[in-house]
Point group: C2
Chain length 190, copies 2
DNA sequence: AGCACTGCTTGATAAATATCAAGAATTTAC
DNA sequence: GTAAATTCTTGATATTTATCAAGCAGTGCT
């Protein structure tokens, strides 16, 4: 568990100390108990948070099934960007998979940052571009890798997650059924 | 074929006429002959263009295969965002699938826009957020839809593309082999 | 016209992945 | 601590998708 300053500078790395302080003062700590919702499909997501501890899952429903889009752990930010920035209803439900501790900033306070920090627009732009690139990368992986390769890659990146959350959610996020996930997992173990 | 003003306002819709004129003056027309490269993997992409006419394909190679990430037609913008904004080497190759006519702006001129247009940062932010959302949507589709469903959905969105580009590229973009694509296509026809 | 080239289709077959069902293991709730 | 609920595993089977191989259909070239 790090400080808010550290979480922020991980995403927005070239902020002067004084400005960083100002930004931090706009955040408030927040707790979610296990099972609580950060935002639900159809609601407006009006905040952005850094995960101080705990795990959150972002998912949505199709007609038949539930699709996990993302699982976030300490250090990640969490929000529905399109709901936050465009004021749309959220496509996603974001739910706490454990006790969760957050640093949160409301959309109103978030908008203030631009007035406090001179180069904020540039930083925010880079932040969004980074988010875009991450998604682009993920699409490439989904187009080019098999289920087993996606498993391996994700396990290499976040092995600790595999004993912290129900595996079915990881399976869904990787685009396979829990059964397929289980079989690949068994194959990988020895 | 529309005017540059129309292409720009499609993505950045609330610009005053005078400012729009200034922005347009930074673009130059450009032609690519069929097969020519807009950018190649490993190069730096230093421009952003609107497609006035023609078709471009963005792709990359894995060890075994070539993966088409995107096919762009009239009205779309084309660039490697992460290369453009971060100065990185491009992951992608972008190639003209036909004679292509573009309006292009160099990165140097692009950076000038911020000084010309007061609310540019806000517009650019929304633009990037929109790009992000599009990618997020696409991931959801790849996670939740079968090959046939992806075919149907894409056909519903861009049917004209199906007789303008080699179908194998569409197949790749949708995450299936040309054979599978062909079989689904046959099934859909009658 | 005839020939190479590229892209598309088709069939046969194999491999990957999903589905369904049951049981084992783990976690949660009281 | 025990019962209930949830999650995970496993097997049998079905479906989807990929692979391989061959042939066909355009297209451009000379």
């Amino acid at each position: 568990m790090k400080t808010l300053e550290q979480y922020i500078t991980h995403y927005f790395d070239i902020i002067a100390p004084a400005e960083l302080q100002q930004i931090c003062s706009l955040f408030v700590p927040e707790q979610l108990s296990k099972g609580a919702y950060f935002v639900k499909t159809g609601q407006h997501c009006r905040k952005l948070s850094f995960i101080r501890s705990g795990i959150l899952r972002m998912y949505a429903h199709t007609d038949e099934k539930e699709v996990t889009q993302w699982i976030g752990t300490e250090g990640y930010f969490v929000t529905d960007l399109s709901s936050l920035l465009f004021g749309q209803q959220s496509r996603w439900t974001i739910q706490a998979l454990s006790e969760v501790s957050l640093f949160s900033i409301s959309i109103e306070h978030y908008r203030k940052i631009g007035r406090l920090v001179r180069q904020w627009d540039e930083l925010e732009k880079m932040f969004l571009a980074k988010c875009f690139t991450t998604m682009e990368h993920r699409i490439f992986d989904l187009l080019s890798l098999s289920a087993e390769e996606r498993y391996k890659q994700f396990f290499a990146q976040q092995p600790e997650l595999f004993n912290q959350v129900p595996l079915q959610y990881i399976a869904s996020m990787l685009g396979m059924t829990p059964e397929t996930f289980s079989r690949i997992r068994k194959k990988m173990l020895p």
